[in-house]
């Protein structure tokens, strides 16, 4: 049996896994990263991830340290304004919109938006530059034995990896999490999300818009223009059967429905990509670490796609872990280090999961989201800058949680 000794094994080659591999590789650690599926880096390919990711401000330094940000910046659409719109459930009440402007809290935009398939392409290019990283696409991690002093990982190609730290970035069903004996609690909403891109005649002006109605939010995030027309990435959450009905509609009928659902804010929407369907859950791992194992990203936490929280929490995981590891170069998987990682990340993530869960339930039930924020003590939200700042900082991950800000 062929055994490879390495410092860090990253299981999973999604956006989080690739970012983790680049982060640790850039710190000079020897990294092996494996993923059962080869990454799809072409938008038109069948398996392409059509979702888009908004990188909020705190994520950028993590990507910079990993050497990824300079490659992404030219493709990134800035998010200057976050707009939340409540539409009446009866279809008669006019939509109520509130704008949150980045310029109120910073001279930078809230964040930058990028399509996931392009992220993968640029991250792979970064890994290719790093002599420290060995990326193995099309190879699954089939077994893990996490000893207190080393981790043994068996790969589907017969290779055995002996690592001092395993970073589990292998998704919401994380086989590494299960092998390490860490449980997870799951909340199911009976919702699914449709993800796709659209073009529209009215420009988005860098504004990200969340339109709330019963069933779940309809979110448009700015994309660079396509074929000379303004474009947005859309995540449309509804109850499961409704999503399946929408996904099966002929294109023209679907465009009519989504234009109505968007309250005509951008004029008639035109479908620019395939529609992909994602189940919506919340999930939180009981712990973020075990002997020689750290959970990051969806292996540790899953939230509904509201407020661009998911991947930004993931990058905060990676940034925190990379910081701890760089202070302890002798042994990147030492127990005290992993204990600290768990203690720093778990309470923060748990609070965010609770906050997003509350917002999603409110949105699903058709309760006006802004009304709910007011009811939770942000009654004077509109027009009062300090409170609006608190809420916006919360969305940015700048130290406060959604649930606290909304209380």
């Amino acid at each position: 049996m062929n055994t490879v000794d390495t410092d860090i094994f990253v299981s999973g080659g999604g956006v989080a896994g690739l970012a983790a591999a680049a982060a640790f590789g850039s710190l000079g650690f020897r990294v092996v990263c494996a993923d059962p599926a080869p990454p799809v880096t072409d938008e038109a390919a069948a398996g392409a991830d059509l979702r888009t990711t908004a990188f909020l401000q705190p994520s950028v330094p993590v990507l910079e340290a990993a050497g990824i940000w300079p490659r992404l910046a030219p493709h990134a659409a800035p998010l200057g304004v976050m707009r939340i719109v409540d539409t009446g459930t009866d279809g008669m009440t006019p939509p109520v919109a509130h704008d949150f402007e980045a310029s109120e809290i910073s001279d930078q935009p809230f964040g930058w938006n990028l399509p996931n398939w392009l992220l993968r392409r640029e991250m792979l290019a970064r890994l290719d530059e790093l002599d420290t990283v060995s990326f193995r696409p099309g190879v699954a991690a089939t077994d893990l034995l996490n000893r207190s002093e080393e981790a043994l990982v068996t790969l589907s190609d017969g290779t055995r990896i002996r690592a001092r730290l395993v970073v589990a970035a292998d998704g919401r069903e994380s086989p590494m999490r299960a092998a390490a004996g860490i449980g997870a609690r799951t909340i199911r909403y009976g919702q699914k999300a449709l993800a796709f891109a659209v073009t529209h005649p009215i420009p988005h002006n860098g504004v990200s818009t969340e339109i709330h109605r019963s069933g779940g939010p309809f979110t448009l995030v700015p994309l660079p223009d396509r074929d000379g027309r303004p474009a947005s990435g859309v995540v449309w959450m509804e109850r499961g059967p409704e999503v399946l009905r929408l996904a099966a509609l002929p294109e023209a009928a679907f465009e009519d429905e989504m234009t109505r659902r968007s309250a005509h804010l951008f004029g008639p929407l035109r479908l620019a990509t395939r529609r992909s369907v994602w189940p919506i859950i919340s999930r939180l791992a009981d712990r973020f670490a075990a002997d020689r194992v750290a959970l990051v990203a969806e292996a540790a936490h899953v939230v509904p796609p509201i407020g661009a929280q998911g991947l930004n929490m993931s990058l905060a995981d990676i940034g925190t872990l990379a910081g701890l590891v760089s202070e302890n170069r002798g042994d990147p998987g030492a127990r005290p280090l992993l204990e600290r990682y768990h203690r720093r990340r778990w309470p923060e993530v748990a609070a965010r999961v609770a906050g997003i869960d509350a917002l999603n339930r409110a949105s699903m039930a058709g309760a006006p989201v802004l009304g709910r924020l007011r009811a939770r003590g942000v009654g004077v939200l509109h027009g009062i800058r300090p409170i609006r700042r608190t809420l916006m900082h919360a969305g940015l991950g700048a130290g406060r949680t959604l649930s606290r800000a909304a209380r």
Binding site: N2, D131, S134, L145, E149, R160
Partner: protein, 266 residues
């Protein structure tokens, strides 16, 4: 019950300790008998042992005989509660016990089970003197019964082939282990006769690690075996080593599989 005969190597075979186990030998295979705690712990121990061996030697536990070709020593084999499942998984098993009375009990049971196991009334010292070596040495719940644990572990280390592993379990020396192993198991539940264990002989994980490393092995793992009195079950924990715990260590040298350096590009 036969009296223990004089043993050649008294270092790992305290005569009083031997007498205690001789008296209990016939009860080894009674799951409700005096060895009830071992029978209850056995699935958990076996899971740990088989995972360590399979991962170390690149075997799949799904195969019919995953441990075929591996030579395994069960030191302090008692009635064969571990030797038999190891033989069933394909290992070539030597079961050694310094208590003579255990050997016929174990051999009889193995015959009844249709298993071929080389049971010997001998000691770790005698096996090491004879130059015997094994891919796997199981050293389970023994070290707390020997007079000089450090010397005993050094002897066991010599029995491990370079690249092979030793799995060693024992009981921690904590207030909780006194409550559980002495008060609970011996005084209250009467699972074990009073005096089976001497709390002062218990060894902490750090002490055991030091002894194993001084013996020349590389320490790889420690985990707790935790008894849940509500579910009445044992489980493996990476944080609670307060009472029962288990370790794995490797003898450096030629590994079972060739070790290749990490190439820069996969």
């Amino acid at each position: 019950m036969a009296q223990p005969e004089t043993v050649d190597h008294p270092r790992s075979a305290d005569p009083k300790e031997l007498a205690k186990f001789e008296a209990m030998a016939a009860e080894w295979w009674d799951p409700e008998g005096k060895f009830k705690p071992l029978h209850m712990l056995n699935p958990c121990r076996l899971d740990y042992i088989t995972r360590q061996i399979a991962a170390e030697f690149g075997r799949s536990r799904d195969d019919a005989l995953p441990f075929a070709g591996l030579r395994l020593l069960d030191i302090g084999c008692g009635g064969g509660l571990l030797s038999e499942p190891m033989a069933r998984l394909g290992a070539e098993v030597v079961g050694a016990d310094a208590a003579e009375g255990n050997i016929p009990v174990a051999a009889l049971h193995a015959r009844q089970s249709g298993l071929e196991i080389d049971y010997r009334h001998t000691t770790a010292e005698a096996l090491a003197e004879a130059g015997e070596q094994f891919d796997v040495v199981l050293n389970m719940e023994v070290v707390e019964h020997v007079p000089d644990p450090a010397e005993f572990l050094a002897t066991c280390a010599r029995l491990v082939r370079p690249g092979g592993i030793m799995i060693c379990s024992t009981i921690n020396r904590t207030p909780r282990s006194f409550a559980a192993a002495i008060v609970g198991a011996e005084w209250v539940m009467r699972w074990l006769p009073k005096g089976t264990h001497d709390w002062r002989k218990f060894i902490t994980p750090d002490e055991l690690r030091t002894m194993i490393e001084v013996a020349g092995l590389r320490f790889l793992d420690r985990k707790g075996f935790v008894f849940n009195p509500l579910s009445w079950r044992w489980s493996i924990s990476d944080r609670d080593l307060g009472v029962n715990y288990v370790t794995t260590s490797r003898r450096p040298g030629a590994a079972a599989g060739a070790t290749a350096p990490l190439s820069a590009r996969g």
